[in-house]
């Protein structure tokens, strides 16, 4: 756990170093220790661009991984995650609706962080509840995933329709957003992003005790005194806040949510949430930073799409789970 924390610090500093303008370690560390910077340009790059970007990566990693853990326990399905179940897509649809409606009714507040978060959150809640209601009827775990993927396609279809009826300028900004990126978030948006993630994490923390019991199934959990309905509400609320806000600011980011909980279970040999909870938070932040650093292709001056990197890191983990875990 401490190793993960140190890794986080190490990656965080590294992520400040790498980017389209090459900087040195001494620049970054000097600035972090409040020394006088080499020149104003360096400090601007670090403070205005890279610090918010790295902070966003950390928050998004934490949020998506934690909601992945919540969903895997909630649905008793190791392949559940915000992306696979279409929760991401629900949030996307909410945001798309806001972006395109904003162009029809040019009112300033539509673009504010709050509306964006609210729309993404509502979209996420809607899909989460929908998937949950379907899961109550279908006991088969694979069917649930297929339903999730179909809901994902369905909302993507709706988004495509919106795009079809939109002007070119909005399409471009929306398409850029759908690639997934930690770069579009500045300090003024972080002011919304950070508190939402904190609220989501606190809700999840509230559900940590019943979640261990839920691993045994709902009947066992109820027999130990778990209020099943209240716990479900907490998990849906928390998962939707975390996924929704992250999607609102960074776009739909694939595979972090599904892969990180598995890495932690494998790493710590446990499904005890009291261990997994901090582990997933740290590991999620680590992996997100790592993905962002790789996306920068250090030394090349090029930048890869973030979702390509997370997919390359995450998809093998999912395949590994399917191959080596019984009882899926």
């Amino acid at each position: 756990m401490i190793a993960l924390l140190f890794l986080l610090l190490f990656l965080f500093v590294n992520s400040l170093v790498f980017g389209s303008v090459p900087l040195s370690f001494s620049d970054v560390i000097g600035l972090l220790l409040f020394q006088e910077p080499r020149n104003l340009e360096v400090s601007t790059i670090i403070l205005q661009f890279r610090l918010p970007r790295s902070a966003t990566a950390v928050l998004a990693g934490v949020a998506l991984s934690l909601s992945g853990l919540l969903m895997q326990t909630f649905f008793k399905n190791p392949l559940a995650g915000p992306y696979v179940l279409g929760i991401n897509s629900g949030a996307s649809f909410g945001v798309a609706l806001i972006i395109f409606c904003g162009s029809l009714f040019p009112l300033g507040f539509f673009f504010s962080g709050v509306t964006r978060i609210a729309a993404a959150f509502l979209g996420a809640v809607f899909v989460f509840v929908l998937v949950f209601m379907i899961s109550e009827r279908l006991k088969n775990k694979m069917t649930l995933l297929i339903v999730g993927i179909m809901i994902g396609y369905f909302t993507s279809g709706l988004v495509s329709l919106l795009i079809f009826f939109s002007r070119a300028s909005e399409i471009q900004s929306f398409l850029f957003w759908t690639f997934g990126s930690f770069r579009g978030v500045g300090f003024n948006q972080l002011a919304y992003f950070l508190p939402s993630v904190i609220v989501g994490v606190l809700f999840a923390l509230w559900a940590i005790k019943p979640m261990n019991s839920l691993l045994l199934g709902e009947d066992y959990a109820a027999s130990m005194g778990v209020d099943i309905k209240a716990t479900k509400k907490k998990i849906i609320l928390s998962g939707s806040i975390l996924t929704g806000t992250t999607t609102a600011f960074c776009g739909p980011i694939a595979f972090l949510g599904i892969a990180v909980p598995h890495l932690c279970r494998w790493f710590f040999h446990t499904s005890n949430h009291r261990v997994l909870f901090p582990a997933v938070i740290l590991m999620g932040a680590d992996i997100a930073l790592l993905a962002e650093i790789i996306a920068q292709l250090p030394g090349s001056g090029l930048t890869l799409p973030l979702n390509a990197v997370t997919a390359l890191l995450g998809a093998p983990v999912v395949i590994w789970v399917i191959f080596f875990k019984k009882n899926i």
Partner: protein
């Protein structure tokens, strides 16, 4: 002392249209420290009964009282300190150590984050010693055998420090030795801790030996309660399984599959070999008769130079076999002949 009673309890499921009633107007009583076994055919509603009594399932009508308190009106964590369950759901996907798993049972006693205090740890270690699961303390529950895992499940339930332990078919998947071990353990617990135990099982034999009381849950949505011996003498257990293929063996007190005989056979010979020879004959569909003129078949077991030899006379043909396997194959041929005609 009366611990649990039901008042017009009606169990079943609510459906979109109407409801499925599995049992009506149950007036059941459970005393402190008593061990009760629920017997009944598959699908009759034993699990629903147990879950309803444990407060996990809402009754369609009527009430259940634990120490005078309404089970379904009680707060869940209050109830969890009184009633614990072992269910049939498999839990093998869980990777927790034995200790972590058993300590889940402390749920109703711990605070907001579920942190164990000293008393909780002591209780967990105590029940693990009592159930002989302390050796699985640091072993992942998923790696245990069926018998070991069942004990860990019982330990987890005991960590709730219940006054009533409800187990749904706890002996399923267990071999005979583990079965007796588990039953013996439950018996000891009920005596030492004055804990009431309610369990469902298909193992009539074991239930008859260990239970203080039986609840016979028949297909007429009724439950007959009584001591095992009384119920046996009244042939109530017998009536429970009204299957023409099953017959009750009075001398041994157990149920057997009623054989379907097609022919009769006359059997004589060495006493030591008679029993197993008879088993082969019966399996192949020949009722053993003691009247020589009666049989289609005559079987004689003899010892020749200390080795058994089976001589079978059938339609004037004489056949000699040196093992029951060979004789069995021959009987199979006769049976197929008979069935063809």
């Amino acid at each position: 002392m009366e611990l649990y009673k039901t008042d017009g309890l009606t169990i079943g499921y609510k459906k979109t249209f109407g409801e499925t009633i599995l049992g009506e107007n149950f007036e059941l009583r459970l005393s402190k420290g008593e061990m009760v076994c629920v017997l009944g055919p598959n699908g009759v509603g034993k699990s629903t009964l147990l879950k309803t009594m444990a407060g996990l399932h809402t009754p369609l009508m009527g009430k259940a009282y634990l120490m005078g308190m309404d089970v379904h009106g009680l707060r869940k964590d209050q109830l969890a300190r009184k009633v614990a369950v072992v269910l049939t759901e498999r839990i093998d996907a869980v990777s927790m150590t034995g200790f972590e798993f058993v300590s889940l049972g402390r749920y109703p006693y711990t605070g907001g984050l579920g942190k164990l205090r000293e008393r909780d740890i002591n209780v967990v270690l105590k029940v693990m010693r009592e159930t002989g699961t302390i050796e699985f303390r640091d072993i992942a529950v998923g790696k245990l055998s069926d018998g070991e895992r069942q004990k860990v499940l019982v330990a987890r339930a005991l960590a709730q420090e219940p006054v009533l332990l409800i187990l749904d078919e706890p002996m399923i998947f267990l071999d005979i030795t583990r079965k007796f071990e588990l039953f013996q353990m439950l018996r000891t617990l009920s005596v030492q801790k004055k804990m009431s135990i309610l369990l469902s099982t298909h193992d009539i034999d074991t239930a008859l030996r260990f239970a203080d009381r039986l609840w016979l849950f028949g297909s007429e949505k009724k439950i007959t309660a009584g001591s095992p011996e009384d119920l046996m003498l009244k042939k109530a257990v017998h009536d429970l399984f009204k299957d023409p293929l099953i017959q009750y063996d009075k001398t041994n007190g157990c149920f057997l599959q009623k054989p379907q005989f097609i022919k009769k056979a006359y059997l004589v010979g060495e006493e030591d070999y008679i029993y197993w020879t008879r088993r082969v004959l019966e399996r192949k569909g020949f009722a053993v008769s003691l009247n020589q003129s009666d049989g289609t078949l005559k079987v004689q077991v003899q010892l020749e130079d200390g080795l058994p030899v089976w001589k079978v006379v059938y339609q004037d043909g004489r056949n000699v076999f040196h093992s029951l396997l060979e004789m069995g194959d021959f009987l199979e041929m006769i049976r197929e002949d008979c069935l063809k005609n």
